[in-house]
């Protein structure tokens, strides 16, 4: 086929119409809703959620998890557009990593090294990893669908960011149940869960997001 013939065919297909159920906002909301529904069905919200001693830690978990979800989501969705750059993101990602380190330093400063491993492992480390992993499945699928409709030129990075974003969302849900309130536990296991989901998503992204 000659190239000008191909161009003629492409030009005839110039009109655009995206069905409503393929809109990014719809797909992402559906993924989030599924995850919330799964959480509501399977996991009990912690009984003392509104008590004073639980409020601050939960709020802190939300800041971490929400920050991760927004940051990862912003990076992943930004990568849908070939050639678009946003240098500010590095700064934000740096700040976020800094926040994690400050939290660790704070924990060590307040508690010292006594009972380090008790605080580190708590009693539900595995529960945390598994829950965040499962709850992130639906949002991850949604983000991947949206990314696939875009034009991702760095599939592995986009996959990793998508993983972090959905793990962040899942972690925010799980924080409503999780009764481990010390900073060391939260920073360690929430981050590890997000990292693992990100890693898996990176490998999925490498083949699923190619076009």
């Amino acid at each position: 086929m000659r190239t000008d013939h191909l161009i003629a065919a492409l030009a005839q297909d110039a009109r655009l119409a995206l069905p409503w159920w393929q809109r990014p906002a719809v797909v992402l909301s559906a993924g989030a809703a599924l995850s919330v529904a799964a959480f509501a069905l399977v996991m009990p919200v912690r009984g003392d959620l509104l008590a004073q001693h639980a409020f601050a830690p939960t709020a802190y978990k939300w800041i971490l998890a929400g920050g991760l979800a927004l940051l990862g989501g912003r990076v992943a969705l930004g990568l849908r557009q070939p050639g678009a750059k946003s240098p500010l993101l590095r700064v934000v990602a740096g700040l976020f990593a800094g926040l994690l380190l400050v939290t660790l330093a704070y924990d060590l400063a307040v508690h010292g090294s006594s009972g380090f491993f008790d605080r580190l492992f708590g009693s539900s480390a595995m529960m945390c990893l598994q829950s965040v992993g499962w709850l992130s499945l639906a949002p991850l699928a949604a983000v991947f669908l949206v990314l696939r409709a875009g034009a991702v030129t760095s599939p592995a990075t986009a996959g990793f960011a998508a993983g972090l974003a959905s793990a962040g969302f899942a972690a925010a849900l799980y924080a409503l149940k999780c009764t481990e309130d010390n900073a060391l536990f939260v920073v360690t296991w929430y981050s590890l869960a997000a990292f693992l989901v990100g890693l898996v998503a990176m490998f999925i992204g490498r083949w699923f997001l190619r076009w």
Binding site: M1, R2, T3, D4, H5, L6, I7, A8, A9, L10, A11, Q12, D13, A14, R15, L16, L18, R80, Q81, P82, G83, A84, G150, A151, T153, R210, W211
Partner: protein, 173 residues
């Protein structure tokens, strides 16, 4: 492209024509740098054009167009080279052949015609109608006694399929 995004046919065709010309130079250079002849140039150009077409909603109209096109072209070129394995050393005979090669007509390496054969019959007829015979969608719809919308959708699907067929063929090559 702004007009093209809004679905205007003629500006879109002009744009694609210009882009094709620019791409041809760029891809020829790219292939030469990778130690390839320019026999594949037109196939790669066509693959990029289809990619630009299918992914055109991912261009943000507030940003300049060129970086967007370049990013797609680079992605597709690298993809093509990787699929076929980049040649490391280039024997001088190969270079001589490249240099002596006749100037490229804008015909793909005949792959594209074979690819068309792989489409379902109706889609193939539609693509051939709008491309080889240069007919309008309305004409074709009337000839096949179909709704215009149906023809549009079929054309869109066919072009998408054509895009993925390009990838598969080159993988085997």
């Amino acid at each position: 492209m702004r007009e093209a995004v809004l679905g205007h046919e003629e500006p879109y065709r002009q744009l694609l024509d210009e882009v094709a010309i620019a791409l041809r130079c760029q891809i020829r250079n790219g292939l030469a740098r990778a130690g390839r002849g320019n026999a594949e140039t037109e196939d790669v150009v066509q693959e990029i054009l289809i990619a630009i077409h299918i992914k055109r909603t991912t261009w943000d109209p507030t940003l300049p167009l060129k970086p967007w096109i370049n990013a797609i072209a680079r992605y597709k070129l690298i993809d093509c080279l990787r699929r076929q394995g980049v040649r490391q050393a280039v024997p001088i005979e190969d270079l001589a052949e490249t240099l002596a090669a006749p100037t490229v007509e804008s015909t793909g390496r005949s792959d594209a015609l074979r690819l068309l054969q792989q489409l379902p019959e109706r889609e193939r007829n539609i693509v051939e109608g709008v491309s080889l015979q240069g007919r309008s969608i309305r004409d074709i719809a009337a000839a096949l006694s179909l709704q215009e919308g149906t023809v549009r959708v079929a054309l869109h699907r066919a072009l998408k399929k054509l895009g993925s067929l390009y990838r598969q063929t080159h993988k085997e090559a």
